[in-house]
């Protein structure tokens, strides 16, 4: 139990996927203009991350490792994730239209999101068990959601700011903001070790 809390806490705060590992930067910068789309994207990524881990971990252990074809990992994982996302999208569209309306619109973009492929490969590389992997994916998703929400809030304020120098307007100031947010997350380093030592 303690182990799982440590995994979740460290992947949300200390090793945040976006702010300290640079995974999933594209949606982080692209879909964070408005709070509601940022939240939707965050939940959709969390959902797909857990689902992708649930599917790829057994494939790696019982198929790729068992038959000694581990080198096919990249090809197999990306295909599994792509078809999974497509399947989820179709299911949601047919059976849960309200949920599709809020999450589904982000799904096509998630296929090529490096955070999703990243979390599945990290789980295997770090030798986590199935349960640990699932919680690691959940934590990574929540960390992504947290970063998205914080950043969307900051960008909302930034829109009102008229004092930005011309050369910094638009993209550069967005990146500087991300830099400061990431700096503040560095304050969490050591927190997990301190709490559970």
């Amino acid at each position: 139990m303690k182990e799982i809390i440590v995994i979740i806490m460290s992947v949300i705060l200390v090793d945040n996927f976006v702010l300290s590992q640079f995974l999933g930067i594209c949606p982080f910068l692209g879909v964070s203009k408005k709070m509601d789309s940022a939240t939707g994207m965050g939940f959709a990524v969390t959902f797909v991350m857990v689902l992708a881990t649930a599917a790829t971990w057994p494939i790696q252990k019982f198929l790729l490792d068992a038959y000694g074809i581990g080198y096919l990992q990249t090809v197999v994982f990306i295909l599994v994730i792509a078809s999974l996302v497509q399947l989820v999208e179709m299911t949601l569209k047919k059976y849960m239209p309200p949920l599709y309306k809020s999450l589904g619109v982000f799904l096509p973009l998630i296929t090529t999101n490096c955070a999703v492929l990243g979390v599945t490969i990290t789980n295997i590389d770090d030798g986590l068990t199935y349960v640990q992997s699932l919680f690691n994916a959940l934590g990574a998703g929540i960390g992504f959601l947290l970063a998205m929400v914080l950043f969307a809030g900051l960008r909302g304020k930034l829109e009102d700011c008229k004092m930005v120098p011309v050369a910094f307007q638009g993209i550069p100031i967005t990146l500087v903001t991300a830099s400061i947010l990431s700096l503040s997350f560095m304050g969490f380093s050591g927190v997990v070790e301190g709490l559970f030592a």
Partner: protein, 225 residues
């Protein structure tokens, strides 16, 4: 279009990182030293050229509806080859790039070029486009890496520069990555008086997948944004 302009276009006018702002994840993540940046750039360039050539060859065979999965399989195949080559011949580089080698698959530059260029142009042109874009990516990552290495570690390509002056370690860490990238873009804006970079903010229109993802998605998001 003449052959030389295809190469130089990717290099300067449409530089994938500094002008089109694609492939942000590897740009920020692996540029902790100039060597890492160049290594990542060259690996990506190799995948980009090969994928462009194969996709251009297969452009009449691949059915339009399933083109994206087809491109992804081609790209993933070449990424696996590069991954194995690096493991065999450059194990140190493989270790420092780590997770970001398999993640070349989801680099939007490669899928973007496949979708926008290789699927519409001849084999030679596609190969040249791969070389141009790949060089542009490599140079941008090299510059980022060099700046961060000099400021954050006090070295350039591993050679110590400042003697006993302690370096600013923050530039090697995540905030430094965002910051150096911001300053680079701002410098380009300043030097070209805001003309070089057409994209004024990050959004759906800049995504390489914009053409392929269902258009209602993009317009819906744009409307809400």
């Amino acid at each position: 279009m003449n052959k030389l302009s295809i190469v130089t276009k990717g290099f300067i006018k449409e530089n994938p990182v500094l002008v089109q702002l694609l492939g942000c994840c590897p740009t920020l993540a692996v540029t902790t030293s100039a060597t890492n940046g160049l290594g990542m750039g060259v690996s990506t360039m190799a995948v980009l050229i090969c994928a462009n050539i194969v996709i251009s060859i297969l452009k009449r065979v691949i059915p339009d509806k399933v083109r994206i999965p087809c491109y992804i399989v081609v790209i993933a195949g070449f990424v696996t080859i590069v991954q194995l080559m690096l493991k065999a011949y450059l194990p140190a580089l493989d270790k420092s790039l780590g997770l970001f080698i398999p993640l070349i698959v989801v680099n939007c530059i490669i899928l973007g070029r496949a979708e926008m260029f290789a699927s519409k142009n001849s084999i030679v042109d596609s190969a040249l486009d791969g070389i141009g874009m790949g060089l542009g990516f490599t140079v941008a990552l090299g510059i980022m890496g060099l700046i961060r290495e000099i400021l954050g570690n006090g070295t350039a390509f591993g050679v110590a520069l400042f003697g006993s002056v302690p370096p600013m370690g923050i530039f090697m860490l995540a905030p430094g990555g965002f910051f150096v990238f911001a300053i680079l873009i701002a410098t380009i804006n300043f030097a070209s008086k805001g003309k070089a970079i057409k994209k004024k903010s990050f959004g759906c229109e800049g995504c390489a997948m914009a053409g392929s993802c269902n258009s209602s998605t993009c317009s819906e998001k744009e409307a809400s944004a």
